[in-house]
């Protein structure tokens, strides 16, 4: 077990190396002078020279990469071109709203989706099942921002029940914090709920056709007991996997959700960085988001042993 954990942690090194090479190499794969593209159409040659120097573009490729990785390992993500502030500091300022939004979405989605999936599987073939599946397909198809605008229209403009946009920190009170977080969480969570509910249903159906489920029913256990203790426990591994993989969907959705609801988080920082062509910030954000994604999936992998004691490493 211990050896497996070490092996699994070491396996993230090549993955993160590829991420780093991609993020760094992009600058050189793009056609033309990256400094000129970043500087924009109205740039003077002095601007371009300044960006050249800032990105270290005048040195050989491997020297640049080694310098960059070395700085990275020391927690230095470079300097923003637009604001001249360290990227890590800019990212640090924006972490809180994004963390609040993604964690609340994660909690709500998982606690809605798994019961939905279990219910659909338990009532397979009935209208309940069909309703859940229809909801899942629609959840996949309605883009985050369309759903976000529908929510804003219904709950903010028509009903005037929730604030249209913005973010209020938890330190300013629980009520305003939650009221600003409700709609972004629903908008962001819809796809994720659809994804998890679908896999939960499929995984449960698989388990429910096993012999030990029939045995459990035959010996007179209650339906709830069979579903939760016998079936859900055994269906847990694929569900944990999709929760981990689905985080990628969440991260993509955060960028959009924060734009629609004017939440000053990492997604908003990304959009601002794109508009200003501030590439060091984009590099930093991709590295951090990918790092979180890899970390979460590492935890999911390690959780298999807890979820299913039959798994031995």
């Amino acid at each position: 077990m211990f050896a497996y954990i070490i092996r699994r942690i070491l396996a993230t090194i090549p993955v993160m190396t590829v991420v780093a090479i991609f993020v760094f190499g992009l600058l050189y794969l793009s056609p033309g002078d990256p400094a000129a593209i970043i500087a924009g159409d109205s740039a003077t040659s002095a601007d371009i020279a300044r960006i050249h120097a800032k990105l270290g573009l005048d040195r050989p490729f491997y020297v640049q990469f080694a310098t960059w990785v070395w700085a990275l390992l020391h927690g230095d993500l470079g300097i923003s071109i637009f604001t001249n502030l360290p990227v890590l500091k800019l990212i640090g300022q924006r972490v809180e709203p994004t963390a609040a939004l993604t964690i609340s979405t994660l909690i709500i989605s998982v606690s809605v989706a798994i019961p939905l999936g279990v219910l659909a599987a338990a009532k397979a073939g009935t209208w309940v099942d069909r309703a859940v599946m229809v909801f899942a397909v629609i959840g996949f198809s309605v883009p985050v921002f369309v759903l976000a605008y529908i929510l804003i229209y219904v709950f903010s403009i028509e009903a005037d029940a929730l604030p249209v946009q913005g973010y209020v920190s938890l330190s300013e009170g629980l009520r305003p914090f939650l009221s600003h977080l409700v709609m972004p969480t629903i908008a962001l969570g819809a796809v994720y709920i659809a994804l998890i509910a679908r896999i939960t249903r499929a995984s449960m159906l698989d388990v429910l056709s096993q012999d030990y489920i029939r045995t459990a029913q035959a010996k007179g256990l209650s339906n709830e007991n069979v579903l939760i203790v016998h079936a859900l426990r055994n269906a847990a591994v694929p569900i944990a996997t999709i929760i981990g993989i689905g985080v990628a969907v969440l991260i993509g959705g955060v960028v959009v959700t924060e734009t629609v609801f004017a939440i000053p988080g990492l997604g908003r920082l990304t959009v601002d960085a794109i508009l200003r062509r501030d590439y060091p910030i984009i590099q930093g954000i991709i590295l951090i988001f990918s790092g979180i994604y890899v970390l979460i999936n590492l935890l999911v992998d390690l959780s298999y042993a807890v979820l299913d004691p039959r798994i031995r490493y």
Binding site: F22, F140, G252, V256, T259, V271, I285, I286, S290, V294
Partner: protein
């Protein structure tokens, strides 16, 4: 929906049903999804004949008019007809969806076939793909768009790069299982060349899962294009894509929500159609999976 089964016309004796009728009955999602997609494609092709005007025509006098019999979907802040822009927007979205699906499958399949058949390539390629797959797809597209000038080709290219690893992984997985099949071993034993084995025995067997994956890629690519355009990193603003129309309506949402509403509905319906088609195809092509999902 025009394609709904009309059983009441004929007596419901199973023998009397034609093959088309049986097909609709057995795969309703393929028919409904296919019909929605066909409708959208038709709309995109015949956009100039559907009562549209020039989607770029500016007219400050008639700016921000609410939907009416003259302006079906209203007009935007520059007086452009939202109906015409939305109809023409189908062209952009479908081009991106289909373009990305075809390119990603072409590239992903080639890499996947090579990786599945050559062990030393496999080791390197799959490490690279693992790394790329740990970057959320939208961020890959954003990074590429931040470094390239906004154009439709660059949008298609950026989303394709983000989708290739998943196709590669899928194809490689299929190849690895097929490679152990007796008929492939027999072909190897009888001295058939690698290229011929790939083409004759492997490629046809990857078609079903790849086709299903292709529909989901197309649906995802259309959403990604809209997201990219919406946040200002996608199709150039002079092209009326659904994402662009919605981005323009963003700041006006509280006074003129219809600008965001109509392209949003169109995008959702189109993606829904493609997803239904994909679900149906998967059920039809892989009955083992169909029972589960």
């Amino acid at each position: 929906m025009a394609v709904a089964p009309t059983d009441f016309i004929l007596p419901a004796a199973p023998a009397a049903r034609g093959p088309v009728r049986t097909y609709i009955r057995r795969h309703p999602t393929i028919v409904v999804g296919g019909a929605i997609l066909a409708l959208m494609v038709a709309m995109a092709i015949f956009a100039p004949y559907l009562g549209t005007v020039d989607p770029q025509a500016l007219a400050p006098v008639r700016r921000l008019k609410w939907p009416s019999t003259t302006y079906w979907f209203g007009t935007d802040m520059l007086g452009r007809d939202v109906y015409s822009r939305t109809i023409y927007g189908a062209r952009v979205s479908l081009t991106v969806g289909i373009g990305v699906a075809v390119l990603a499958i072409g590239i992903g399949m080639t890499i996947g076939l090579v990786a599945g058949f050559m062990r030393w390539v496999d080791a390197i390629v799959m490490r690279v793909m693992d790394g790329l797959m740990s970057i959320p797809a939208i961020l890959i597209a954003i990074a590429l768009m931040a470094l390239n000038r906004a154009s439709l080709q660059n949008v298609i290219f950026a989303i394709t790069v983000a989708e290739v690893p998943r196709v590669t992984r899928l194809v490689r997985g299929v190849v690895l299982t097929l490679r152990e099949q007796p008929y492939v071993e027999a072909a190897v034993a009888s001295g058939t060349g690698t290229i011929k084995i790939l083409w004759r025995h492997i490629v046809p067997n990857t078609m079903a899962p790849v086709l299903v994956q292709g529909t989901f890629i197309a649906a995802g690519a259309m959403i990604t294009e809209a997201i990219l355009s919406f946040i200002g990193a996608g199709t150039p603003p002079n092209i009326p894509s659904w994402g662009n129309i919605m981005a323009e309506g963003r700041s006006l949402f509280q006074v003129a929500y219809y600008i965001v509403l109509f392209p949003g509905i169109m995008l959702s319906i189109t993606v829904l159609g493609i997803n239904l088609l994909g679900d149906g195809l998967r059920d039809a092509l892989d009955p083992r999976l169909a029972r589960r999902l």
